[in-house]
């Protein structure tokens, strides 16, 4: 009974928009939001699913962005968590620094990296020049923009993975590790055969949380490359694409269809991951 108001609020804010998005995806709603629209069945879906110009490249970019960011974040996050696991002097200091990217405003982070990656005046190219490496176009280049933004995502969100894994590691008991040590296992063997399997449920939780957020990334992409993900749509993911369709081009029907497909893809990924998680728990 205590939950009723909150549930009603969340339900109202979720089910109503979802239902409306579903409905809009079956109409030709566009232009002014007060203009009338007609029911056109699955036409929007047919259109986007055959659109190899914007839609499918956006799906591919979403997958590359999420997959790339997550892969590096999980590996780096695990390494940093292991570094921070055992107590040492100055631990508090390092933890505070690791917290900074997490709380920094994503738009500001986008702007900060935009200056650093600016081809002619940015620090990134200056840094490369110290090692005699030629200047890169970074965010300005069609091929380099997406990898550069994956890098920015890694900078901002690896700390999240570190914190979650660190919480998982500290909750482990020391005994299995000790037993393996007594049996003569080296550091790598102890990690791979003892610690990692034990921390696996936490690892998958981190993948889930990070994956969901990476799929939905909007702020940094839109802040650095603007509408349509740059002039060649080089960083246009599904989220940026749907946003542009709705609020820059007022094609509400089509963008709703994109969002429904996107939503189903997310649910699909989570479904697969949760099955994996149940299996690993056995």
């Amino acid at each position: 009974m205590l939950a009723a108001p909150a549930m009603a609020f969340v339900a109202l804010l979720i089910t109503f928009p979802l239902a409306w998005t579903l409905y809009l995806s079956l109409t030709d709603a566009s232009g002014s939001i007060r203009s009338s629209h007609d029911f056109i069945g699955l036409e929007n879906y047919a259109e986007i699913l055959t659109d190899t110009d914007r839609f499918w490249p956006a799906v591919a970019r979403t997958a590359i962005f999420t997959g790339g960011a997550m892969l590096v974040e999980m590996v780096l996050g695990m390494l940093i968590a292991l570094l921070l696991w055992r107590p040492f002097r100055g631990q508090g200091f390092v933890r505070v620094i690791i917290l900074l990217p997490l709380v920094a405003t994503p738009v500001a982070v986008g702007m900060m990296w935009r200056l650093i990656f600016e081809p002619s005046i940015g620090f990134a190219n200056q840094f490369l020049s110290w090692f005699g490496i030629p200047a890169q176009p970074w965010l300005a280049g069609e091929a380099t923009a997406l990898p550069t933004l994956i890098f920015v995502d890694i900078w901002q969100w690896t700390p999240m993975v570190v914190l979650i894994l660190l919480a998982g590691l500290t909750s482990l008991s020391d005994e299995p590790d000790e037993a393996a040590r007594v049996d003569g296992a080296n550091a790598w063997q102890r990690f791979w055969y003892v610690t990692f399997p034990l921390v696996m449920p936490t690892f998958i939780t981190a993948i889930l949380l990070r994956g969901i957020d990476a799929l939905k990334t909007f702020d940094i992409l839109y802040a650095t490359k603007g509408k349509g993900g740059g002039s060649f749509h080089e960083v246009e993911t599904l989220n940026v694409y749907a946003y542009g369709l709705s609020f820059d081009y007022q094609k509400y029907g089509e963008s709703s269809a994109v969002l429904i497909v996107f939503f189903m893809m997310i649910i699909g990924c989570i479904w697969i991951l949760t099955i994996r998680k149940k299996k690993s728990a056995l």
Partner: protein, 289 residues
Amino acid sequence: MTSTATSLIRTTSPVQRRRRRGLGYKSFRTIALLVVALSFLAPVVWMLLASFKTNVDIYNSEAAFVFTPTLKNYDTVFQQADYIQYIWNSFFVAAVATALSLVLAVPAAYSMSRFVMKKSAVLVLLARVIPGVSLLVPWYFVFANMRIVGTYTPLVLSHMFVSLPLILYIMMSFFDSLPEELEEQAQVDGLTPIGAFWRITLPLSVPGIATASILSFIFSWNNFMFALVLSGASTKTLPVAIFDFVGYASIDWGGLMAAAVVVTIPIMIIALFTQKYIVSGLTAGATKG
């Protein structure tokens, strides 16, 4: 002989064991940690430095670290653009959204945790999974038809949508960790269930509520997408206001960096003083697997 050796290893204290790992690992770890700390800190320092530079110095690589600091950029931010107003907008929206969400979410989290309502918890997960844009389109339709786009109401409501599930999630795992016996004892002593919640559980929940409020405030402060569509000229929040700097013909990098510092620094200072709560909030429920 071997058995003595084994027992020796077994009886060494953790401190001794760590010492035996030797200097090699220790110095490797120190260097690795330095690299990690530097990679997370350096970009922020760079932004901070640039915000005190003239645009001439920003374009001059010789002046990377040695330059005459100027407050001109901050002057631009506060004089030319109405940043005091934007700071207030961000603060007001984040604070009201957090407060309202707390009122709704704390009792809800309590009952979900105590009466194990797994189905309703799924709804909370759903709220995290849905891409914000898919909510924004219908909201925009409704709010525009009510002619309230550009007022605080749609901003607060949309930000509540971020904070409410967050608070619900954090508080649920907090209540899960709070022993139920305390309330049962209180009820044996004659309190009603609501009374037990109000007089016993709620005072004990202050750390959890602090965690939830801080995180909710931070996420609301940082939110960009909802305000980008739903705010008006006078209700613009800071992240959207920064974006305005880019719209100008050529980017005023100094001004842009000062604006970025203005939005980031308050939240970083809050984070420094409340890091314990932030960490426990971000990792709430994560280790339960």
